[in-house]
């Protein structure tokens, strides 16, 4: 497995956010992490990228321990994250937002090639190239942060709620881009989503979290038909 997290526990300020979650992502796989708000999905991503230190457990990426590395070194190791809530750099242009995504890279030509690829994939970004990112619509900003993450040429892409607050029509566009990125760029994807139908449709495997623990796991196709997923969101017994 490319990424393997074992028995992760995270507490924030006395709050148990994650209690013993284990998950893995294989090379070339798209794995969905679904569950209602507050289930601990984001915390798992933060633990993988080093923004939050797990209280216990182990995270390995291509054999190396991640849970002792600084966030900037984790990026260099090939993991890029699209944080929740479209965290663009609002007063920077689209261009600068994309270029900062390649901050950890030193291959200038390679960066230019990636930039071409990203702009090809998201033509809207090309139209808004020198506009301040904060003035764009939510959907455009979401494309930008995905593009920004791709600029790092990651081997593993972590996406936190890309459909959040995006109009339903655009959600489909974003879902299609995720599929295409996984397929064309040979990037493994760990997708955190509340929109479980979308996430299950575009992923190979999925974990469903509830109150900080894995409640369901399995092939996405099967979970899509599983009524327990709905109950996970809207209440009722599993």
């Amino acid at each position: 497995m490319q990424l393997e997290a074992t028995e992760i526990h995270v507490n924030y300020d006395h709050v148990r956010a994650v209690t013993g979650v284990s998950l893995s992502v294989g090379e070339g796989e798209t794995v969905a992490l679904i569950g209602a708000n507050g289930a601990g999905k984001t915390t798992m991503l933060r633990a993988i990228t080093g923004l939050t230190r797990p209280d216990s457990g182990e995270i390995r990426y291509e054999g190396h321990r991640l849970d002792t590395m600084a966030p900037n070194d984790i990026v260099r190791a090939g993991i890029a994250m699209v944080p929740e809530g479209r965290r663009v750099f609002p007063y920077m242009s689209v261009k600068d937002n994309l270029l900062i995504g390649a901050f950890a890279r030193t291959d200038k030509n390679g960066v230019n090639a990636t930039l071409e690829m990203v702009l090809g994939r998201f033509p809207r970004l090309k139209e808004r190239y020198s506009q301040a990112a904060g003035t764009m619509s939510g959907g455009e900003q979401q494309m930008l942060v995905i593009g920004r993450a791709l600029m790092a040429k990651p081997k593993l892409l972590l996406l936190d709620e890309p459909s959040l607050g995006i109009a339903p029509k655009l959600v489909q566009d974003i879902a299609r881009s995720i599929v295409a990125i996984n397929r064309d760029e040979k990037v493994s994807v760990l997708l955190v989503e509340q929109n479980s139908r979308m996430a299950l449709r575009i992923s190979h495997r999925a974990y469903a979290l509830a109150t900080g623990a894995v409640a369901l796991e399995g092939a996405s196709k099967e979970l899509l038909q599983d009524d327990r997923v709905k109950r996970l969101y809207l209440g009722g017994e599993l």
Binding site: V15, A36, N195, R197, M198, A199, G212, Y233
Partner: protein, 258 residues
């Protein structure tokens, strides 16, 4: 009878409507939950009702009086009190002192009276302490009254937040995600506490995303998505509402495959 009427309440940030013409009523003595997917505008709505944000337009009628955009302490004086998520307590005070100070609205003595420790002030203090102890015991955390609040475990902090809210003697108590980050047993406990609060004669409005808890506890539910009210009804009605399911799980008809 409606204790609270929210009418066409709107809040815009820049051009974006975080809450868009939302209207609903809260009946006296009920437990009403506001739910919605992440980013739906729940917490903005919550802050508008408790007056921690100024509304762009619309009204919040409490007992026949429009309280929209009044200072939070004035709204609290009228009987609409909010709680916060668990980290918002007076961290460097003991749990008991947190609740004692929260009796502020019940003071009969003036500030000068408190300074000179007048008889009324002494009576107030004694009464506040007694009442604070009663509230802490009622919520089952009386035994940690003398702990510094920042050292308390999470479940206790949540109860402490409720205790602070209760001490202000509200008629309408607004809960901000009372079950977030709790495990199953803690949630059960907290649900009981909320029932208990209703049984004390209060009306409860809560914003929450723990669905099992919301379904269990609520008399009625209001569902928001993209800042608009998309449904209102009993838990069973909400669970079967296709629009609600879509808001949470996404649309069924999309065709995106691998």
């Amino acid at each position: 009878m409606s204790i609270l009427e929210v009418r066409q309440l709107t809040k815009r940030f820049g051009g974006l409507a975080a809450v868009n013409e939302v209207s609903f009523n809260v009946e006296a003595g009920e437990i009403l939950s506001i739910i919605g997917p992440n980013g739906a505008g729940k917490s903005t709505l919550f802050k508008l009702i408790s007056s921690f944000l100024r509304a762009t337009s619309g009204e919040v009628i409490y007992e026949g009086e429009n309280i929209v955009s009044k200072a939070p302490h004035i709204v609290a004086r009228k009987g609409v009190v909010r709680t916060f998520q668990e980290t918002t307590i007076f961290k460097e005070m003991t749990a008991l002192d947190n609740v004692v100070i929260a009796h502020h609205l019940r003071s009969r003595a003036s500030l000068a009276g408190f300074y000179w420790a007048s008889r009324t002030a002494k009576e107030d203090e004694a009464q506040f302490r007694e009442s604070a102890e009663e509230i802490l015991n009622y919520l089952g955390i009386g035994h940690v009254g003398n702990e510094i609040a920042r050292n308390l475990p999470h479940g206790y902090l949540r109860a402490l937040g409720m205790a602070i809210g209760l001490a202000a003697q509200p008629k309408l108590l607004l809960f901000d995600e009372p079950f977030a980050g709790m495990n199953h047993e803690e949630t059960q406990q907290a649900v009981k506490q909320v029932y208990g609060i209703r049984d004390r004669g209060l009306t409860v409005l809560l914003v929450e995303h723990d669905m099992p808890a919301v379904m269990k506890i609520s008399d009625r539910i209001v569902v928001l998505n993209f800042g608009q009210k998309i449904a209102e009804g009993t838990p069973t009605e909400i669970q079967d509402n296709e629009q609600v399911i879509e808001a949470y799980l996404g649309r069924e008809d999309e065709e995106i495959g691998l």
